[in-house]
Symmetry: C2
Subunit: 232 residues, 2 copies
DNA sequence: ATAGGGTCTTGATAAAGATCAAGCGAGGAA
DNA sequence: TTCCTCGCTTGATCTTTATCAAGACCCTAT
């Protein structure tokens, strides 16, 4: 682990409230590993032996069925993924692969499970984390069931613009075909959806997005905090 | 509350591990209410003032956006709903309405939040409950993104048949238009999907379902525990 | 510089699903 | 009983989205 890195991890909401001795015990059993791009870290269905923490690079969570595949989320530093499987001691419901070169900490699930039963602070943090995760998926589910693909794209762009400080321009930071899969459409359909949004104050050149008329876009997208506010 | 009912509630996994004095304190502040059918108990966006427990009847969780509405889940006795909003002290992400005459307990969210910070047993139970809820929604999300509407229906029928003991026949226990909304399709499309499944060993007359050829249906539906096993 | 591999876009077409309109049929009220 | 309502089904049509095919673009390695 890099110098200072452990302190950053200790500051993550999930770990901040742990008793120091438990934190130390948990991370003594940790493996830090570096992976090249496009490596499958986790295969859905496998037992959840490790809780993962992304330190560098980014990781894609995806799911498959019957030769189809869909992107569920991307995880960026510093964040954990697949906490619920670890807790339930069940199989992973999603697979994970590195998108770029990535460094990841693997924390043995058995240790996590053991510690949260005795460490109140850790248990509290897990509760908040799981509640947050749950609400995020519910929002995604509403997005998918209530909106068309163009509407999902429009709201996605508004969210990203907001996260980038409402500058009116930002970088997608994700391949278009992955974005398409994340949004629940094909790459071809994404291209055409972008075309459609050209008429509502959106210009996309490569990975550069410019929102030239946020009012117009918002009037089309009709964002609501109950779907689009990540903090809510 | 009816005699004996409080004991049933105490046996729910969510409450079973609570300290008796905390359980008693929590339920001293409870309201038991009876509602007629089609009453909105909760409106999405409202603050989560109460954790709800369904004692009798059934409750539909649904979400709306831009004049569209979709069924997210139905809750049957005895079960709680909208725990995550209570925990996070955030707005409800879903609305709830009674489907039939229903009796519901309302537990003040503030009490729930206060108690889980001190009662380890309760905290553990909440963790398991939230992890379960999270995984359920992830499964629904995979179902929706990876499968066509006919495939979703086919797998739904297999799940219900299994839950009814693999008898090969069971009652839908839900209006078709609600089932359609739950499965992410229109009522018309559900009718046609049923027609399609007639060719795979499924007969539906009113609310009575008969699976005459489970092999054939399963070969079409390709169920997987990673989407279709509610316990996994 | 250029050849090769990927991604992205575009067009044509097909499939899936939604909408609209009409009629059927079971159940409830007068 | 008859009428009415409401949910369900069916057919026709339209919209949305996916698929297939081809070409443009853009890296990158040689």
């Amino acid at each position: 682990m890099r110098p200072g890195e452990i302190d950053e991890i200790r500051k993550l909401p999930l770990f901040a409230a742990m008793l120091p001795e438990n934190f130390d015990a948990l991370f003594r059993g940790a493996y830090v590993q570096s992976f090249p791009p496009q490596i499958e870290l986790i295969r859905e269905g496998d037992p959840a032996d490790f809780l993962h923490v992304v330190l560098e690079g980014s990781v894609e969570l995806f799911a498959t069925w019957n030769n189809r595949e869909t992107t569920m989320a991307t995880v960026a530093p510093i964040a954990t993924f697949i906490l619920a499987a670890t807790i339930k001691n069940g199989p992973y419901l999603m697979s994970a692969r590195t998108l770029e070169k990535a460094r990841v900490i693997l924390l043995p699930s058995a240790d996590v499970r053991k510690i949260f039963t005795t460490d109140t602070g850790f248990a509290q943090a897990i509760i908040l984390d799981l509640a947050q995760c749950y609400r995020s998926v519910v929002k995604s589910h509403k997005d998918l069931k209530l909106r068309t693909s163009v509407e999902r794209l429009a709201n996605y762009l508004l969210r990203k613009d907001q996260q980038a400080g409402e500058q009116g321009h930002f970088d997608l930071k994700i391949e278009k075909r992955r974005l398409a899969s994340y949004l629940g459409m094909t790459a071809e359909n994404l291209s055409r959806s972008i075309r459609t949004l050209n008429g509502y104050g959106v210009e996309i050149d490569g990975s550069q997005v410019r929102i030239t008329d946020r009012k117009d876009l918002a009037a089309f997208a009709k964002p609501t905090p109950l779907i689009d506010d990540p903090k809510c």
